[in-house]
């Protein structure tokens, strides 16, 4: 029994669920993966239009700055929202078979990560060709940023998923929080525009740190700032640890409540 419920021993299950998520989403749809791109591309188009013709933001190649962070933000916000319904979606399984519920959250997170990787590949090609005119060495730091991005998002998804089992409010409250966070994170403006005096508070938000690191690596084509990297890594470890604790504390109740 014990071996049957540890997360690593159920990697076949996790992979099976990831495969299912991807298959279900893209089969019998003509445009398939392109649909995933429609929303971020539309938003990027609108934001570029607004911030280069209406509110003229002083950033060279604003489009390039925007796509360096926008897809990351999109990944984080879509993943966090998905965490509010992932467990409810699998209620039937949870009620009939003993399985590590983390696997359900992790597989949902991995499915989103696969989509993100494809988007990122496209962003990298566009930036290398149209902005840098070569392949910047800084792109080598991406695996590190990806690991932090995945860990941070998962660390937030676990308690959100737990809370969503008990309280429907989460599904209503989270979109509000996310839309506030969109303006409070450096998605369409650089963190350097935040007044010096407020920057410490601003960077308490790990998502702001993560986005800034992406701007450094993708847009500025320089190696990530070590202090920022250290800070976001610590926060990610703390959030992931806490998230797992919360999830493990309550998961034995999921089958009864779902």
């Amino acid at each position: 029994m014990a071996s049957n419920t540890s997360l690593w021993s159920r990697r076949t299950l996790i992979w099976g669920l990831v495969l299912r998520n991807v298959k279900v989403k893209y089969q019998r749809s003509l445009l398939g993966f392109l649909w995933t791109l429609v929303y971020p591309l539309l938003m990027v188009g609108v934001l570029v239009l607004v911030f280069t013709t209406v509110i003229r933001i002083q950033i060279d190649h604003f489009w390039a700055f925007l796509i360096s962070g926008f897809f990351v933000w999109n990944y984080v916000s879509a993943s966090l929202y998905a965490a509010t319904y992932t467990l409810a979606e699998h209620a039937q399984i949870t009620r009939s078979i003993a399985l590590p519920n983390e696997a359900l959250v992790v597989s949902a997170a991995l499915s989103k990560l696969i989509e993100f990787l494809i988007e990122l590949a496209l962003v990298l090609i566009v930036l290398a060709v149209a902005l840098h005119h070569h392949l910047p060495a800084s792109f080598a730091a991406l695996p590190l940023l990806l690991a932090i991005q995945f860990g941070l998002t998962l660390g937030l998804q676990l308690p959100i998923a737990t809370l969503a089992v008990f309280y429907k409010d989460v599904q209503h409250a989270l979109p509000l929080l996310l839309s506030a966070l969109f303006y409070l994170s450096p998605v369409f403006y650089p963190a350097s525009m935040i007044p010096e005096s407020a920057r410490d508070y601003y960077f308490m938000n790990p998502i702001a740190e993560l986005l800034t690191l992406y701007h450094q690596v993708l847009y500025e084509a320089r190696l990530p700032d070590i202090a920022l990297l250290g800070s976001v890594t610590l926060k990610t470890a703390a959030i992931l640890g806490l998230g797992l604790m919360v999830f493990n504390r309550f998961k034995h109740l999921f089958a009864e409540i779902l």
């Binding site: 159920r10 669920l17 299912r20 039937q92 009620r95 009939s96 078979i97 399985l99 309280y167 409010d169």
Partner: protein
């Protein structure tokens, strides 16, 4: 008592309490206020199972009978490890396979073949095991050339047959079935019954929850009768079934 250590399934003094939330405390505000004031959320405790004992030896088949809401499914879910007991202990030796909701985990958009793979891994099969069992599962389910068709186009009988086939073809030591023997047509039910009899005769352990007393008598040697979460009678399946019939008449 030394037989306890050899038991395939052992429940001792098991109780399961649920909380029925009457006015749903479904808001964070209420949670917050109650947490701050250290007042628990008002909920009516409800015992779905009280002080339940059950010992099933390897190779034994036991039926749990009782009316709706008597706690049959709760017992199976406790044995399966889906629920944690409120008090008492539940021990299972070996690997258990559960069929509480037939086809839990099936995705309607996926084909039969894809769902076999998905349901298989959910039931805990490895990839190699799945590959080895695949043909047996298909043969058992007998869904013909619908294998490559999305499950949403299946008839309910076909769906149930496929789910049942995957569940019983998993390598397991203990099989838990909840009212699922009423699926499919006469021929398929017969096939299921024969499969379960030969599984039992090979030394497999079986716990079924059933309304169907005749089926219970054919498959099981022993029965426990539950009423409102309490054990009413336990013993030879024929005797328990007769008493149960008499009580309900």
């Amino acid at each position: 008592m030394n037989r306890d250590s050899e038991a395939a399934v052992l429940c001792s003094g098991v109780s399961k309490r649920f909380f029925l939330y009457e006015h749903a405390p479904n808001s964070l505000r209420e949670l917050f206020i109650r947490t701050v004031r250290r007042k628990p959320i008002a909920a009516r405790p409800y015992f779905a199972l009280t002080d339940f004992d059950l010992r099933v030896m390897p190779g034994e088949a036991v039926a749990i009978i009782g009316q709706n809401g008597s706690g049959k499914s709760t017992v199976l879910r406790l044995i399966a490890g889906v629920y944690a007991p409120t008090s008492g202990t539940v021990t299972v030796r070996g690997r258990s396979a559960t069929v509480i909701e037939l086809g839990a985990g099936f995705h309607p958009e996926l084909t039969g073949a894809e769902n076999i793979a998905l349901y298989g891994v959910i039931m805990g099969m490895s990839r190699q095991e799945l590959a080895a069992r695949y043909d047996a599962i298909l043969a058992f389910a007998d869904i013909g050339n619908f294998v490559e068709t999305p499950v949403k186009y299946y008839s309910s009988g076909m769906r149930a047959r496929l789910a049942f086939a995957v569940a019983v073809c998993v390598d397991h030591d203990v099989l838990l079935l909840d009212e699922v023997l009423a699926v499919g047509d006469e021929a398929f039910r017969h096939k299921c019954l024969n499969h379960l009899i030969s599984y039992r005769d090979r030394g497999g352990t079986l716990v079924i929850a059933s309304h169907d007393l005749d089926q219970a008598c054919r498959l099981c040697s022993r029965a426990v009768w539950l009423d409102k979460g309490k054990l009413v009678m336990s013993g030879d399946v024929g005797a328990v079934a007769d008493a149960y019939r008499a009580a309900r008449a």
